[in-house]
């Protein structure tokens, strides 16, 4: 994937120095003025890329946590031609571990934009949405007070063998949406896009099934497109979103896997 001409303007920011962005603006900015746009993808195994490399349709009752970092950060690096660091830690919970790791990753680093998606393991521990919200707000405060931009992502909706977690991750995703708006940081609404792309979630070909928690190869492709859209300020939930992202990434028609919600009038 190559970035389209239309979006080359975002790289003009490399020449214009630091800037702060709000939601739906491009977050591909050289905030610290070092001549490189550095993105850090922060999260758990779904950021690390566990389950990547498995094709849709493969019977996967469980996913091994092994191999080198991959997943959506690697795809982002290739599609946007940016420096993208994979800071995913398999098994990590945001409240118990991740929020305490944030300063280690952010403070003093050259990162310009942090993408945070974490909470699936918190849902296993049934951490409350209130504790989750306080952790996300902590992370936002640390990142922004360090002069960085931020995208926060909702949680991919667990299904099949992990469907019991869905009510909890839904509460976390509601928190993420509220805090993104409140703090005017970027939002990647992975949960909403996952649902609109996979109306029959239990048969969703973006997941390793029946494991139902970690994306497969196609799922990580889709996740990378969602994150690219959030970074470029493309609203993938709008009807024109996929075409806009295809233009931005230089993809052929239909190259964007993610589908926006069908308007009620067309249902």
């Amino acid at each position: 994937m190559k970035i389209g001409w239309k979006y080359l303007s975002v790289f003009a920011s490399l020449l214009s120095g630091p800037s702060f962005a709000t939601a739906q603006e491009s977050l591909v900015n050289d905030v610290n003025g070092d001549g490189v746009v550095n993105v850090t993808s922060f999260g758990d195994s779904i950021t690390y890329g566990v389950g990547d490399g498995l094709a849709p349709g493969t019977d996967v009752p469980a996913v091994e946590e092994s191999g080198s970092p991959r997943g959506y950060p690697k795809r982002l690096r290739l599609s946007l031609n940016l420096s993208v660091r994979n800071s995913g830690v398999p098994g990590e919970e945001l409240v118990a571990q991740g929020v305490w790791r944030i300063p280690e990753v952010v403070v003093g680093s050259q990162v310009d934009t942090v993408v945070l998606m974490e909470g699936s393991n918190d849902s296993v521990k049934q951490t409350s949405a209130g504790d989750y919200a306080r952790a996300v707000q902590r992370a936002i405060n640390v990142v922004r007070a360090s002069g960085k931009q931020m995208v926060i992502a909702t949680i991919p909706p667990p299904t099949a063998n992990h469907s019991s977690l869905a009510p909890i991750t839904e509460s976390y995703s509601s928190v993420v949406r509220e805090l993104a708006a409140l703090n005017e940081v970027g939002l990647a609404d992975v949960e909403a896009l996952w649902h609109s792309t996979c109306p029959e979630l239990e048969q969703c070909d973006l997941y390793n099934l029946p494991e139902g928690l970690h994306p497969n190869t196609k799922g990580y492709d889709a996740l990378a497109q969602m994150m690219a859209a959030a970074l470029l300020g493309v609203d993938l939930l709008s009807p024109a979103g996929p075409a806009e992202l295809e233009s931005a990434l230089g993809l052929p028609d239909g190259g964007v896997i993610v589908r926006p919600p069908v308007p009620p009038s067309q249902q």
């Binding site: 409240v95 305490w100 300063p103 306080r134 707000q137 922004r144 007070a145």
Partner: protein
């Protein structure tokens, strides 16, 4: 929120923010700023952005003050008014309430400190009575950092001068400091553990607030704010 058992690394944010009145601090309120009025010193590590509302007014006077960044004053109506600090977009969530009498020269800071888990969110109203003009600069310390009952802040060219001690949630007096390049070093009073440091240049005749925000052993930021 579950606290970590051991945090071996304290993160000191040496980079500082210095934004004069009316300047853009990034990510803060969208209202026009003023030389007088009210501002928020947001030092609470896990608190969402906040607004300042004058009771009876339809819209906030200051919107979306964020942690360790927003510092601008926003004009207030004259007379006896009640200032409320509320969670942004949630006006029913009143964090603090302060009856004040304001005029065109009044300057107030509302310090938001503590946290949502251990200490609770707390607020203090500060009257920003800046000293009269002089050849030196004046700096006061505002301690909003959790994890220390008090902090000591040194202002000197070599950071070796006598420090000023300020208790949690309190503001010190404006003290004269020689204008020019200054190193600021903040430490926890109990054990002299360094928690923040900055290198700044103070201008003669200016008054400043040095806000220490965050949580010891997690993330602390020292922010130098121009008060006049």
């Amino acid at each position: 929120m579950q606290l970590p058992v051991v945090r071996s690394v304290a993160f000191l944010v040496g980079a500082f923010s210095l934004v004069a009145c009316g300047g853009g601090g990034g990510g803060g309120s969208t209202e026009s700023s003023s030389a007088t009025g009210v501002r928020v010193l947001h030092a609470a590590i896990d608190a969402a952005p906040v607004d300042v509302v004058v009771t009876g007014s339809p819209a906030p006077v200051a919107r979306r003050a964020v942690f360790a960044l927003d510092n601008r004053y926003h004009a207030l109506p004259s007379g006896a008014i009640n200032l409320q600090l509320t969670r942004t977009a949630t006006p029913a969530t009143v964090i603090g309430s302060f009856p004040v009498t304001a005029d065109s020269e009044s300057k107030f800071s509302i310090l938001l400190y503590g946290d949502n888990s251990t200490f609770g969110l707390r607020t203090t109203l500060l009257a920003d009575e800046t000293p009269s003009q002089s050849s030196s600069a004046h700096v006061r310390v505002v301690d909003g950092v959790t994890g220390a009952a008090a902090i000591v802040v040194n202002f000197s060219a070599d950071s070796g001068g006598e420090g000023v001690e300020v208790a949690f949630g309190q503001a010190g007096e404006y003290l004269p400091v020689a204008a020019g390049p200054v190193k600021i070093r903040a430490s926890r009073a109990a054990d002299a553990r360094a928690i923040a440091s900055s290198s700044v240049t103070l201008e003669p005749g200016r008054a400043y607030t040095y806000l220490v925000a965050g949580e010891v052993d997690y993330f602390v930021k020292g922010v130098l704010l121009a008060d006049n």
